[in-house]
């Protein structure tokens, strides 16, 4: 896909949602990735997992539906859909670590061209580190997608030859969805599948790494299941 302008956050979420095959078991990370669920419909039959012990998570709870015993990993009150199940933490992470989840969508500080992920710690000495489920999530699905802006607030690229932030996981990211492009990370290198308001030469220049052109029609076949 080639678009004339860069994508808003909501449009990135829509692109991710379109790539989730119907019937998938999916964990959406805290923050931006959570908004992917706004673009999934019941007909998709996507089952959401939250690592604090729920499969079949429904939308955020409001008003009288709020129950302090029913929250997601971001500690936001949620609902449970028909067919949901509850389980304890060791089972929940076995579900993840055991490779039973199809897709996990996470935010990131940096992703390397080899698929290394940095998203838990800035590395600043005065920061109190907190890892939560980030390292488990990074490795715990058949595919790990990252969703982020291509550039940080200071304009530096977040897709990098090697991560400079402390790592969350090694060679675990398979796709990166950004406001400017969708990147597929594979054994042959980084393929640019979609561009939004930019082009390959500019991306190569910005990122300082080899990029394989995958924007042609042949490469975009086979999406969605």
């Amino acid at each position: 896909m080639i678009s004339e302008s860069v994508l808003h956050r909501d449009q990135i979420a829509a692109v991710v949602a379109r790539d989730i095959p119907p019937g998938s078991f999916v964990n959406l990370g805290i923050g931006l990735p959570t908004t992917v669920s706004d673009h999934l419909t019941p007909e998709d039959h996507v089952v959401l997992h939250t690592e604090n012990g729920l499969l079949g998570m429904g939308p955020e709870a409001h008003g009288s539906d709020i129950d302090p015993d029913l929250i997601n990993a971001g500690k936001v009150p949620v609902t449970a859909l028909p067919g949901a199940s509850y389980f304890h933490h060791a089972d929940s992470f076995a579900m993840m670590r055991g490779g039973h989840l199809d897709i996990c969508v996470l935010g990131a500080y940096q992703v390397s061209e080899a698929g290394d992920l940095a998203n838990w710690h800035t590395g600043r000495p005065d920061d109190i580190p907190a890892v939560g489920g980030a390292m488990d999530l990074a490795l715990g699905a058949k595919q790990t997608f990252v969703m982020m802006n291509l550039l940080g607030p200071d304009g530096t690229p977040k897709i990098v030859p090697r991560c400079t932030y402390p790592l969350t996981g090694v060679a675990c990211v398979s796709r990166v969805y950004t406001d400017q492009a969708v990147f597929l990370i594979g054994a042959d290198g980084v393929v640019v599948r979609d561009v939004f308001g930019t082009d390959l030469p500019r991306l190569r220049d910005q990122l300082g790494m080899p990029l394989i052109d995958g924007t042609g029609p042949a490469q975009s076949r086979g999406r969605r299941g």
């Binding site: 805290i30 939250t50 690592e51 604090n52 012990g53 729920l54 709020i66 129950d67 302090p68 015993d69 029913l70 929250i71 990993a73 971001g74 500690k75 936001v76 009150p77 449970a80 509850y86 389980f87 304890h88 933490h89 060791a90 929940s92 992470f93 076995a94 993840m96 670590r97 290394d116 710690h121 920061d127 109190i128 580190p129 907190a130 890892v131 939560g132 489920g133 980030a134 390292m135 488990d136 490795l139 715990g140 402390p166 790592l167 969350t168 996981g169 090694v170």
Partner: protein, 230 residues
């Protein structure tokens, strides 16, 4: 044989200074607030606390930390918008922190209860949290060695107990409760209700009574404010 305590103070009696105390809950969901408040009154200090977080707001685990009873926290996600009591003690150098990825934390607790001496996990390999840990390459994948996490005491909140100490939980408040109940030498549980033996469907029991030492009924907790963060 389970003991039914008259109140939370009786339930937490005998916890010693320097004990390792597992505290159930994910944020405030499943946090045994009344047992923690009783532990503060009981006075044990120099505690090592195992929890997913390091306290939210001013109640429960946050209050235990505020009162200076905690020497070390073993958790996955200490820093939150409302973890100010932990933050202050940590920055002052008064509190040791052992940071463990959440799934490794859960599995270390499970391993302790299951009598497992250690396990190889892929989580954390190649990251700063793997430093100093033994690694192994097994069938094409890299792993690191983690050890079980035992405790002297577990404080757990379940939904309903029967008179034998069998437990059922409620929704995502289950989280660490079942594995902590198995991992501690003494497991103390607060519930909203205690029913007669036979009052729970055996098919529905989540924590069998063999893991439970003391049960206390506390009136259903008032709504604890929800806080954000992982």
């Amino acid at each position: 044989m389970v003991a039914i305590a008259a109140d939370a103070d009786e339930a937490v009696s005998g916890i010693r200074d320097g004990a390792t105390v597992m505290i159930g809950g994910f944020g405030t969901a499943g946090q045994p607030v009344e047992l923690i408040e009783a532990l503060i009154r009981q006075g044990a200090t120099g505690l090592t606390v195992v929890n997913n977080n390091a306290g939210n707001g001013d109640h429960g685990l946050a209050a235990l930390i505020r009162e200076g009873r905690v020497r070390k926290v073993i958790c996955s996600f200490p820093r939150q918008r409302d973890s100010h009591h932990f933050d202050a003690r940590y920055r002052a150098g008064e509190l040791e922190l052992e940071l463990v990825p959440q799934g490794n934390l859960a599995e270390r607790i499970r391993a302790a209860g299951a009598g497992i001496g250690g396990f190889y996990t892929p989580t954390g390999f190649g990251t700063p949290l793997a430093e100093g840990k033994e690694t192994r390459h097994i069938e094409g994948r890299d792993y690191l060695l983690e050890f079980p996490l035992h405790a002297d005491v577990a404080l757990v909140r379940a939904h309903i107990a029967d008179a034998m100490g069998n437990l059922v939980y409620r929704k995502t408040a289950r989280n660490f409760g079942p594995i902590m109940a198995a991992a501690a030498r003494t497991t103390i549980v607060q519930v909203s209700d205690i029913v007669p033996t036979g009052g729970l469907d055996p098919e529905a029991v989540i924590t069998p009574c063999i893991y439970v030492d003391r049960v206390v009924r506390v009136s259903p907790a008032g709504a604890v404010p929800l806080e954000e963060g992982q």
